[in-house]
Symmetry: C4
Subunit: 192 residues, 4 copies
């Protein structure tokens, strides 16, 4: 079954994206505790992106579960998602390194926005190819609202950053909380 | 079934190659938008190579699907392909870093050419070991013309770079468009 | 079966964590044997962490074996474990680079402690969802004592480091020996 | 079946080891062809190690195929092999960076020797746990001679490096040729 390979390849890319960000923690040459304090903004941005990539992985995991046949359209919309996610280590590092300055926060928000749009496209491509109905598919259909809400919130976070990057950060956190809270429909569908 | 492992290993290498290129985006220490502008040629070269590696992954995915028995010849011609693909992050970075200068573009074209030849060899090794006939195999046989066309276009891109690297870039883009457009025969074969 | 993907993703992260640490061995520009002597503390810290991550992988391997249904709680407590493990390359490198100085040793112990707690949580989340009884599950239940003992020893290693980092290092070694010695109950359970 | 995970984890580590070496090709800031000439020794050492890691992967692939039950002994002797292989990117880079100087060549030979010993141990651990007989197992038993021969040749390459590193390099090449030539017994066993 060819679905395994698109999952394996995506899992590899997800695993690398999530782990490669650690390389941004440049090892300090002094052993003072102050060095860790300096790394704090990088740590916070890493934690945020770890959670985001984790959310995408979990959703991708559920979504791919519904695929019946791997078509070229699925392969390439999946590649699109992975492309935007692969930029996250860079935008995360830039944001952390510059202590959540306006421009890097805007670029980070744009990165999340584009990833959100790419996921939405992948979801629609996959859903349009489905011929049967299962509880999981219905649960994921309902979850689309969440995807659209995320895209809107990311879009809001962009202008917000010009006034207050803290507001943008709160918006980012809001989206991740929205996704971490287990979706009852999906949970139920998986239980059956 | 041992085929799983050659797929898993290849998927790992593909995933790392495609993601390792992001490490070329050195994080700027200033938060100015100009920094991103400076990264533009690196970004373009990354996007190009991401698409190329993606194409190779998709074709590899279809090709391995037809393998019945993993022989030493398949293992080593697969290693050959992975070797040339593993040089892509380097040649991509060199080309981007030097704003598509002649020599790096030539070297990039040579890299793509050798990868194309390695894929062609792998395809022939796999096809020669096939004892049955399926629609997918027939579709991949027909696709060989595309492989040869790619090799010819890459070969043309090498001398072209000495006159105009833009022409070479157009030739690169041409090949990738040729591969991204879904192959009707393959699509049909996968649908059955 | 969706369990495969959480295993595949985790295996990817484990593999990258364990291998990324090698990047800390900065290649010396001279070919003198002295260069290797300078790298000795980094080598020792790498060896230690390699063994630790290896132990976590082996335990994770057994633990995931018992999962019946992948729930959101399992996904996120697994992410928690991977997050703390992903910091090990950094804390390892910092400790090695600074020749086992007090603060880096403390931070390393905290990292191991948090990883231990995260594993304990994951174990409880998984165990609470199990409806059947197998020998492996009973063996893993008994193994929880070992997990708690590890957490206590790591906690002791933190204050110890302020007096003697060698004592902390001995405590670290103690935990790893405790885990490498094959657990008779688990071995028997796997044999059946 | 738990064998899948030890294969998946090992495949991940193999894939990363083989690809991480490319990071040693530091991207030159000039676009002159001379830059590539300077990278030649690094390229040669990369090619050598790529082939070696490829050989280990292929042999590991066949060997794991014979495993019936994954025991702690298998897990830890596999970890031992992966540990020594994980040092190859470092020893390769050091050897290439210093144009095949005596000490780096000696260290590289020691690395290969220890990897060879670790593979031999893994092979014996796996073989001792086998209860049935297949053609593949018999073929791998016969192949042990090759493993011992490799260990002897690596041992010879160490003192040789003090007189002529070229002789050592020839010995390295000899071992890899010995392994790339398909083993008739293994090929036959796989065909059945």
């Amino acid at each position: 079954m060819t679905k395994n390979r698109i999952e394996a390849f995506s899992d590899g890319v997800f695993a690398i994206i999530i782990t490669i960000m650690v390389l941004e923690f440049k090892i300090p040459h002094s052993s003072s505790i102050k060095e860790l304090v300096h790394l704090l903004p990088i740590f916070i941005s890493y934690l945020m992106s770890f959670v985001y990539v984790g959310i995408y992985w979990a959703n991708h995991h559920h979504l791919l579960h519904t695929v019946e046949k791997v078509t070229s359209a699925i392969i390439w919309s999946n590649m699109g998602l992975l492309f935007f996610l692969s930029l996250i280590p860079f935008t995360t590092g830039w944001m952390g390194e510059n202590h959540f300055d306006t421009i890097p926060v805007v670029v980070y928000a744009v990165n999340l926005l584009l990833s959100g749009v790419a996921f939405y496209i992948l979801q629609n491509v996959i859903m349009s190819g489905i011929t049967h109905r299962t509880k999981l598919i219905e649960a994921l259909e309902k979850q689309k609202v969440k995807g659209i809400a995320s895209i809107i919130i990311y879009s809001l976070a962009i202008p917000c950053a010009y006034f207050s990057t803290i507001v943008s950060a709160i918006l980012f956190a809001l989206v991740s909380i929205m996704w971490i809270i287990p979706d009852k429909n999906v949970e139920k569908a998986l239980e059956d």
